[in-house]
């Protein structure tokens, strides 16, 4: 019995221990499950957080991809645009310009189908200037569409606005019509606007469905259209300028020919005049010599004493014969110089020596009229290259004129100065002066200024013409500065002696 009780006690105790153990294990398991649940919750939360981070990464990546895509597209587009621009700007011929647009460049811009229409105002039709990516049989369809929808395209041209597949939100009909006719999925239409002449539009399209047109694409095609417009403008401007230049050149050529002809005629007339004057002068000199000879014989009384009245008339005949001979000689000299029959013999001439001789020659007259001749020759303008006899004639004529027109008590001043390889000689007087309108004409043959002195003083009107011819024959020139009442200055140049 005891044994059974002990066994029962032992079993009972074991059972209690077992139950206790089970309870402990259960409690521990429960703790572990709780811990695992916590861990699981933590893991789940971590996963959710990781997923949230993943979302941020994906969104950022998407934005980066978009930016990269746009950047790549822009870069490629800009390079292509640069190449097209360079290509079209290298020609100034309108027809060549369109031929130089390479389809490869437009491909790189993302558009494999391109065309350009220009509006012809005279026949009110669009003209196709550029067509790429279309077969021959498709072109007619494009023409018809442009013509049928001229109001739309002219509206774009006049409004300087673009139209692209991006522009359409509601008018799907028109978009579909364009995409169908031009055989594209997306497109950009931009106006081509040169300042003058035909304007039009550039169409660029793609049938590539994965090429989504952006505002950047629209901008690139718009830039291309602008450059095309600019290039057209340049070409037209060039053509206009070139045609104007051609016209001008033609006119200049015609005028030059006419002037040459006129000059030839003038030369012929001048030569005839010179020949005529020369012939007449020769013909006049012979009878003049006879007249003067006979007058001299009669005056000398070789044929008997002549009455006083006859004598005074003979003196006049003699004097007028001298004047006439002088005039004839001047005329002959002018004609000889003009025709080149008188060869100048330029040798260094000392101006002071020449002027002293002239002063001696005119000394009596100077004294009679109470005039002072002042010679002021610069040491560096002392010698000129000239024909001695002709140089004296120049001074005699100019100083002689000054003598005639300078009132008593006046001054005649001769100055010289060096001007590069020339010597400029100025002969100034304090005379009555020359009217402005006569300044240029006084060097013409037989021209005489209308003034009271000239009415009293005789002259041929050949002196200054002869002087001008002599100076020009030496390679110099003559001009005059004058003021009425204040005197005149005759200036002329001659080559300086080395």
């Amino acid at each position: 019995m005891m044994g059974n009780e002990n066994l029962i006690n032992i079993l009972g105790l074991s059972g209690i221990i077992a139950i206790l153990s089970l309870v402990i294990v259960l409690v521990l398991k429960m703790e572990k499950i709780k811990h695992m649940r916590n861990e699981n919750e933590l893991l789940r939360r971590s996963l959710d957080e990781m997923d949230e981070q993943a979302k941020l990464i994906v969104r950022t990546d998407m934005e980066l991809n978009k930016t990269q895509e746009e950047l790549d597209k822009k870069m490629t587009g800009l390079y292509a645009l640069q190449r097209v621009s360079r290509s079209i700007s290298t020609t100034l011929e309108e027809s060549q310009m369109f031929k130089r647009i390479d389809s490869k460049c437009l491909d790189e811009l993302g558009f494999e189908k391109t065309c350009c229409f220009l509006w012809n105002n005279s026949n009110e039709k669009f003209e196709l200037r550029l067509c790429m990516g279309y077969a021959e049989e498709e072109i007619g369809k494009l023409y018809s569409f442009a013509q049928d929808n001229r109001q739309l395209f002219l509206g774009l041209i006049n409004g300087d606005s673009n139209l692209s597949s991006l522009s359409f939100k509601e008018e799907a009909g028109l978009k579909n019509a364009i995409t169908h006719t031009f055989g594209v999925h997306s497109f950009v239409i931009a106006p081509v606007l040169p300042k003058e002449g035909q304007k039009g539009f550039l169409f660029a399209g793609t049938q590539n469905l994965d090429f989504a047109i952006t505002e950047g694409d629209e901008e690139l095609i718009s830039i291309l259209a602008n450059q095309l417009g600019q290039a057209l403008e340049n070409a037209r401007l060039f053509e206009k300028t070139w045609l104007a230049q051609q016209g001008l050149e033609k006119k200049v050529e015609e005028r030059t020919r006419a002037l040459s002809q006129a000059l030839e005629e003038v030369k012929i007339i001048s030569r005839r005049k010179t020949d005529f004057v020369s012939a007449v002068s020769h013909e006049l000199r012979t009878p003049l010599t006879s007249i003067k000879g006979y007058a001299s014989i009669l005056l000398a009384g070789n044929l008997g004493k002549v009455p006083q009245e006859v004598f005074s008339r003979l003196e006049k005949i003699n004097k007028h014969s001298d004047e006439l001979t002088h005039m004839v000689n001047d005329l002959l000299d002018i004609s000889r110089i003009e025709s080149g029959r008188v060869a100048m013999k330029p040798v260094p001439q000392d101006l002071i020596i020449i002027l002293e001789k002239v002063g001696d020659l005119l000394g009596v007259q100077l004294k009679e009229r109470g005039l002072e001749l002042i010679v002021n020759i610069s040491p560096d303008a002392l010698t000129v290259l000239a024909d001695s006899e002709q140089l004296s004639r120049i001074f005699i004529n100019i100083i002689g004129n000054a003598l005639k027109f300078t009132p008593p008590g006046g001054k005649i001043t001769v100055r010289s100065q060096k001007r590069d390889h020339l010597v400029e000689i100025d002969v100034s007087d304090t005379g009555c002066g020359i009217p402005l309108e006569s300044k240029e004409r006084i060097f013409e043959e037989f021209y005489r200024v209308e003034n009271p002195i000239n009415e009293q003083v005789k002259g041929t009107g050949l002196g200054l013409a002869l002087v001008k011819h002599i100076i020009e024959a030496h390679g110099g020139k003559i001009w005059v500065e004058s003021k009425i009442g204040a005197g005149s200055t005759f200036s002329f140049t001659l080559p300086a002696a080395a």
Partner: protein, 405 residues
């Protein structure tokens, strides 16, 4: 363009690429370049990859005239042609291949797949390919198709039923579910739509395949709670579109606008037990009912994650795939390389897309002929060739096939 020469005793390969715009000139140009390396031998196979401009019967007829009836022709049009010269638009590439003694190839095509049961079509294609291949070791198969994922998976399943589930089948799908590009499949003289062209090569050919995408998982895993083929209706019990709406913090309308970008840059990845990396699926369309249509099937119950990539991770993937393909050659010299590169990778790499080609040339040699296309889906075993695993339909991947000697 220059010509590459493979100085092989057995395999002869020649490649030509023409950028001429006229199709006849381009065809002659590319063929003549490729033929120069064939030492007057007739090619067994011509693989033709061209940009869409050349996808017409004129090009293929002209090329077939040059090739002669004994040369099988398959190929496809692609947005651009991959070659030693980089990735060229508006171009025509021709690869001519003379197989070594004891190696064989058989080409076949199947058309109008939409009008029939895709699985049956796949079986029929498999039977056509196996004709004449009794008792010959089949090395690998290559398939080019322009079908939607649903039809494509049926076709591949039918084909695998005939060829064997673990038979190495590589290929490319050219159809873009976003309808951005309408490809053509080339078989003999015809450019085909709604079709698949395939070849089987067998004998004792030394080849290797490498495939990798370079996308990495991001965020927490989610469960596909309702789907059918390539359409996912619910994820974690909510509308499938919620996944992208949450991540991009936008509504359905805005999400639709971003579809092209989302499809290229942010696919979802399905965890596959036996594979080393996630199986990618890019979004093809976003439906108003909140469902997402993917470029490939996503089975119900799949665990998916949003995926993201960088240029560096993509280029790393190229290196990996190239090395992996090369590793199966057992030290043999590479004689030609075929590349199917996802259009999404091309878009993501942008200006750096030519670096893919540099990596391939760096691995196989500057003058080893390379030809390839931009694909919208790639077919390849996810694991190694040794694994002889089931071929999966992939997105966003670069697939490199190398044949050595």
């Amino acid at each position: 363009m220059g010509i590459y020469y493979s100085p092989m005793n057995n395999i002869k390969a020649g490649f030509g690429l023409s950028l001429k715009r006229d199709y006849l000139q381009a065809t002659r140009d590319a063929f003549q370049q490729a033929q120069k390396n064939m030492e007057k031998e007739t090619a067994d196979l011509a693989i033709v990859i061209s940009s869409p401009e050349f996808a017409h019967s004129g090009t293929l007829s002209a090329l077939k005239n040059f090739l002669g009836p004994a040369t099988a022709l398959i190929g496809a049009s692609s947005r651009a042609v991959i070659s030693n010269y980089g990735i060229s638009k508006q171009s025509l590439g021709v690869l001519l291949l003379k197989l070594p003694q004891g190696a064989y190839c058989n080409a076949a095509c199947i058309q109008k797949i939409k009008d029939r049961e895709p699985h049956e079509a796949g079986e029929e294609l498999g039977e056509k390919l196996l004709r004449g291949f009794k008792g010959i070791r089949k090395d690998f198969g290559l398939i080019l198709s322009d079908m939607a994922p649903k039809e494509n998976s049926g076709l591949i399943a039918g084909l695998q039923e005939r060829l064997g589930l673990s038979f190495p089948l590589i290929g490319a799908s050219l159809l873009d579910e976003l309808n951005l590009f309408r490809p053509s499949i080339y078989f003999e003289q015809q450019p085909l739509k709604d079709s698949a062209a395939a070849i089987i090569i067998g004998g004792k050919l030394n080849f290797g395949v490498g495939v990798k995408h370079g996308w990495r998982p991001l965020g927490k895993p989610r469960l596909v709670t309702k789907s059918e083929n390539n359409v996912v209706y619910e994820i974690n019990g909510a509308s499938a579109t919620n996944l992208y709406e949450e991540y991009f913090n936008c509504d359905l309308a805005k999400l639709k606008k971003e579809l092209a970008r989302i499809s290229v840059f942010y696919p979802v990845g399905i965890h596959v037990k036996e594979a080393q990396e996630y199986l990618l699926r890019s979004v093809a369309s976003i439906e108003d009912n909140g469902s997402l249509c993917f470029q490939g099937n996503i089975p119900e119950g799949s665990t998916i994650r949003l995926m993201i990539a960088t240029k560096d991770s993509c280029l790393e993937a190229t290196k990996y795939a190239t090395r992996e393909a090369n590793s199966y050659l057992g030290g043999a010299n590479a004689k030609l390389v075929l590349v199917f590169n996802s259009f999404s990778r091309y878009k993501l790499l942008g200006d750096d897309s030519a670096k893919d080609i540099d990596i391939i040339k760096g691995e196989f040699g500057e003058n080893t002929p390379v030809i390839g296309l931009l694909s919208c889906g790639e077919q390849a075993p996810l694991a190694s060739i040794d694994y002889r695993g089931k071929a999966y339909f992939l997105n966003h991947s670069i697939l490199v096939l190398v044949i050595g000697d």
